[in-house]
């Protein structure tokens, strides 16, 4: 934690949502997923790789992702993750919740920088 800036901290529950979101465009393997999240957030969000794989497996375990082994763009063997219909639904739910939260916090804070809010992340 020490090396990450407060603004880049991955808040509990958000990583799951970001993974689901990333996979909406098609299957990807773990390394790519981390890359896409960091790149699309313009390097504001930093995926702690130690948390990435537990999250991927958790999502797969819940039936939101499925996986298969394939060959990567680097011509290496890699495990690809694919969004399942249940995962698609879950993404919608999470996104809605997130929007609601951001709007609410935004109302409270106005123009201020957003410090990482606490998400009451009860796992379903």
């Amino acid at each position: 934690m020490q090396n990450s800036q407060p603004s880049g901290e991955m808040v509990q529950g958000t990583l799951d949502m970001l993974i689901l979101k990333t996979l909406i465009t098609g299957p990807a393997h773990g390394h790519t997923i981390a890359h896409i999240i960091e790149r699309t957030s313009e390097n504001v969000l930093e995926v702690e790789q130690g948390s990435l794989y537990p999250a991927l497996h958790r999502l797969e375990h819940r039936g939101w992702l499925s996986s298969y082994w394939g060959t990567s763009e680097n011509n290496r063997k890699a495990k690809f993750y694919k969004l399942t219909p249940a995962g698609r639904k879950q993404l919608t739910t999470e996104t809605e919740r997130w929007r609601l939260l951001v709007t609410a916090i935004g109302r409270v804070l106005g123009e201020n920088t957003l410090t990482a809010p606490k998400v009451q992340g009860e796992e379903p």
Binding site: Q12, H29, H31, E48, G50, P54, H57, H61, K79
Partner: protein
């Protein structure tokens, strides 16, 4: 864990390992593309990913664990956590072990006392037949009773004794498959047993012919008593207990068929009872069973013994009865069936309307546990002890909960980290609960070890009492089950609050905390946590005070009992019983035997004097109608037949006249010595010496037994109970007619240890008459201690428990206050930096102690008053709200808690402002 799960896990794991490896390779590719060297690219990739093994573990944690594997991991993790903080673990384990150990030990006694069933087949179908009546005063069909009557809050007077003819009423009821009776009247209770010329005293019981069959007992050898043995004129037979057969014949098989003398009459031992059988009363284990009608033989030589006419007397209540319900019959049905039949029978024995108005009525009780004499006597003290140990456990629990709360605070960062990594709240609560339950279970296991030791200790303490031999306990499966349940429940109880609380942390602020410091943000949850700790401490204080008060009351009761003035000197007295009557002697031979033995005993070097009396002064009391000439006998006048030098030997001072001496013989002028109290009541302002007293054979003063001259006045001495007022006593010569001499207690005043004279005593008695055994050898001091042993036990155990409670509670208080000081180090540092002197800082800390203690006291005072009624009957010569005891308990509690609070307060006053502020 199932086998296929293991294989699945292996496969998944290697899969994951490959996946992570693939991730590293991609990262290295990227790094190389960024222009790093191969070496650098590899290192950075590894740093970025972290330890793959840890990741693999976390994946497993989150997703794939089976419940059992999960538990195992939780346990391993819990064990590691506990080992990381050994001082916390040791304290918590010790506290739990003490709490659970004390509970297990006391409960094992309660269990054996209350739940043990008779070792017979189908004990549940046995019933004990009792009668009860609301009023007892005046004329009653119960004209004569030998046995005990107890008081019952609902039923009034309750007794299990019946006339012999009532047995027929019970037997004629179709609800019972068996009805049987037993008794231990006069000369049966302590039988003179002579085996091959060696005489000894053994506990006997007379049983009806259906007794053994009704209980479904199978003999260890030979046969048991049959209905045909129980009639007048049958061949005299006896059955002995298994222990008796081993002690005297070397085994059950050898005992069957032996001939013995019982009270000087030949009997044949026809069989041996099984080893586990102890009769139907757990408080007494008879050694010899004889058919009921054999009591005519056993009592033949006793002028006051049981006679054939007593079997026909349906107003003499002496025999106890039990029955076995027929299959399918309930206790209530039996009660409804039997009550009117008995009523009809008993109504016919009434002689007038008053008797008819208060006839005894049948009440059936469950007989599975046998008779409840022991239960009546010990259940209250044991329940009390049980309450105390439960309080100790409560204190122990709240203490461990307190420690856990304190620890939970220091673990907030760890827990927040795990929550942020996606572990669910239930998952972490379960982990924390596993820790506390593991702690409690380990504590429980240690507690059971402690309990083994505690049971031994308690057994040895109880063995000093009158019923020591029969009160024993063991660890059986329900005792162990209770301990395990206690451990589990307490583990969950003391773990739940801290677990719930520590998982409700605000992640961000918790994570921002530094390793050692506390969050600078003071939010309401922190305040609540402190309150929770304080509530626990207040509870502990309240419970401790309650226990201190109980201990104080019992200690004071014991010291009141010990300081009771006896009126005689208890030191250096040897007591024992001789019964020349049972050996078959007549009145003249009995008197001559006692006279000769006393003379020889008095001549033993080192024996200062020897006396004899009907019984020990503090062991029961008796009355006969005695009056001054021309007055009515007063019911509270006690009498005591004694021999020469008894008063001198006991060192009861003679105020006027003289003690009995050798010249007071069977045919000389009957004499009496009266107590000061008797003289005060009957001869106010006059000297009783030279006056006459009359001893009657009946209350109606129709048959004069003795016309006695008062030859002396003795100073008041304790007679009967230790706990009552001094009563008026008339000492009479034991050998001057009615009531004729019987068993006597001899007393020797010795130089040095009284017990060192025992072998000489035995030798003298054996030489005088080998048929007369010396029994119940004891010192006067030990006998008195035995009378107070229940009080001694309560005082000792309560004090020990109170001490334990106080220790645990003060550790808790110390912990809470210390924690408070550590938490406020910064604040105190600022205050001191601003120039606050040490005094107010100390006061600030001590004020918290005061508040906690005061709150505890406020809670416990009403509790103390509420329990006072329960304690009152166990106290002697004091009120349950004794101000001295209350004051003392308060003083102890306050000073101990101030002591516990002083250390942290001192530490607070020595806080160096500079260090404290850096710390912040």
């Amino acid at each position: 864990m199932k086998l296929n799960q293991i294989f699945r896990r292996r496969k998944e794991d290697s899969d994951l390992a490959q996946e992570l490896e693939s991730h590293l390779e991609h990262e290295v590719d990227d790094n190389l593309a960024r222009g790093m060297s191969t070496e650098e690219a590899r290192r950075n990739a590894h740093i970025k990913l972290g330890n793959p093994l840890v990741i693999r573990d976390r994946v497993w944690d989150a997703n794939w664990l089976s419940p059992v594997e999960d538990l195992w991991r939780d346990l391993r993790f819990a064990a590691r956590t506990l080992m990381r903080d050994p001082s916390f673990t040791y304290v918590a384990l010790m506290v739990m072990a003490l709490g659970i150990g004390a509970n297990t030990a006391i409960y094992s006694f309660l269990d054996s006392l209350l739940l043990r069933e008779l070792p017979v087949s189908d004990p549940a179908s046995l019933v004990v037949i009792n009668w009860h009546t609301k009023t007892w005063q005046g004329d009653s069909v119960v004209q004569n009773i030998s046995g005990s009557i107890s008081d019952d809050a609902k039923l009034g007077k309750v007794s299990g004794n019946f006339p012999y003819s009532a047995l027929e009423v019970f037997q004629n009821s179709a609800i019972f498959s068996d009805v049987f009776a037993y008794a231990d009247t006069s000369d049966v209770d302590r039988l003179n047993v002579s085996i091959k010329g060696q005489a000894e005293i053994a506990g006997g019981e007379i049983v009806s012919g259906g007794y053994f069959n009704g209980l479904r007992i199978v003999p260890a050898a030979g046969r048991l008593i049959l209905p045909d043995d129980d009639r007048v004129g049958a061949a005299p037979v006896a059955v002995v207990s298994y222990a008796f057969s081993e002690k005297n014949f070397g085994g059950a098989a050898a005992a069957a068929g032996q001939n013995v003398l019982l009270n000087n009459h030949p009997f044949t031992i026809v069989g041996v009872a099984p080893p586990e059988f102890f009769g139907v009363d757990p408080s007494s284990a008879p050694e010899i069973y004889v058919p009921m009608h054999a009591n005519l033989l056993l009592d033949a030589n006793d002028p006051y013994g049981f006679r054939a006419s007593d079997y026909l007397d349906n107003r003499y209540y002496w025999m106890e009865a039990m029955a076995r319900l027929r299959p399918g019959v309930t206790l209530a049905q039996a009660q409804a069936e039997l009550a009117p039949k008995f009523h009809q029978w008993v109504a016919a024995t009434a002689k007038n309307d008053e008797e008819r108005s208060k006839l005894p009525e049948i009440v059936l009780r469950e007989g599975a546990g046998g008779l409840d004499t022991l239960r009546r006597q010990y259940s209250k003290p044991l329940y009390l002890l049980m309450i105390l140990v439960v309080l100790i456990l409560a204190i122990a629990c709240s203490n461990v909960a307190n420690l856990l709360l304190a620890r939970a605070t220091s673990r907030r960062r760890e827990i927040a980290l795990r929550l942020s990594e996606g572990a669910s709240r239930t998952r972490i609560i379960r982990q924390l609960l596993t820790e506390s339950v593991l702690l409690a279970l380990l504590g429980g296991a240690l507690g059971v070890l402690l309990a083994v030791w505690g049971i031994q200790l308690l057994t040895s303490l109880l063995a000093q009492g009158p019923d020591g031999a029969v009160l024993h306990a063991e660890l059986n499966w329900h005792v162990l089950g209770l301990s395990a349940a206690l451990a589990l429940v307490t583990g969950i109880l003391f773990g739940l609050a801290p677990a719930l609380q520590s998982t409700r942390v605000d992640l961000v602020s918790a994570l921002k905390e530094t390793q050692a410091g506390q969050s600078s943000a003071r939010h309401h949850r922190a305040a609540w946590r402190v309150n929770m700790r304080q509530i626990l401490v207040v509870g502990q204080m309240a419970a401790s005070l309650l226990m201190l008060v109980a201990a104080g009351l019992f200690v004071r009761t014991l010291s009141n009992l010990e300081s009771v003035s006896l009126g005689f000197n208890r030191e250096n007295l040897l007591l024992f019983q001789l019964n020349a009557r049972q050996a078959g002697n007549n009145d003249a031979a009995i008197c001559e035997f006692y006279r000769a033995v006393r003379e020889q005993l008095a001549a033993i070097p080192g024996v200062q004097s020897a006396g004899l009396a009907r019984g020990s002064l503090i062991d029961g009391e008796s009355t006969v109608p005695i009056s001054t000439v021309g007055t009515r006998p007063q019911p509270d006048t006690r009498y005591m037949p004694v021999g020469p030098d008894f008063l001198t030997t006991m060192q009861i001072p003679i105020l006027e006249g003289r003690d009995f001496n050798e010249h007071d013989r069977p045919r000389s002028q009957p004499v009496a010595v009266v107590s000061e109290e008797f003289a005060r009541i009957n001869f106010p302002g006059r000297n009783p010496v030279g006056q006459y007293l009359q001893l009657w054979k009946d209350e109606e003063q129709r048959n004069l037994a003795r016309d006695m001259e008062i030859v002396g006045v003795a100073k008041n001495a304790r007679y009967g109970s230790l706990q009552r007022e001094m009563v008026p006593v008339v000492y009479v010569a034991y050998d001057q007619g009615y009531p004729q001499p019987n068993e006597m207690m001899f007393v020797l005043r010795t130089l040095g240890d009284p017990l060192s004279y025992v072998s000489q005593v035995r030798e003298i008695v054996h030489q005088a008459d080998a048929r007369v055994p010396v029994s119940e050898i004891r010192t006067q001091k030990a006998e008195i201690a035995g009378k107070m042993y229940q009080e001694t036990l309560l005082a000792e155990l309560c004090s020990a428990f109170a001490l334990l409670a106080l220790t645990i509670a003060s550790v808790g208080l110390y912990g809470t206050i210390s924690y408070g000081v550590v938490r406020r180090t910064g604040e105190i540092g600022i205050r001191m930096a601003m120039g606050a002197p040490r005094g107010p800082v100390v006061w600030m800390v001590l004020r918290e102690v005061w508040i906690l203690v005061a709150a505890g006291l406020a809670i416990s005072f009403p509790l103390i008053l509420a329990t006072s009624k329960f304690l009152q009957s166990l106290l002697f010569d004091m009120k349950s709200n004794d101000p001295l005891t209350l004051g003392l308990a308060l003083a102890i509690l306050v000073s101990v808690s101030l002591g516990a609070g002083c250390l942290p307060a001192r530490r607070a006053s020595r806080i160096d402002p500079a260090t404290a502020l850096r710390h912040e």
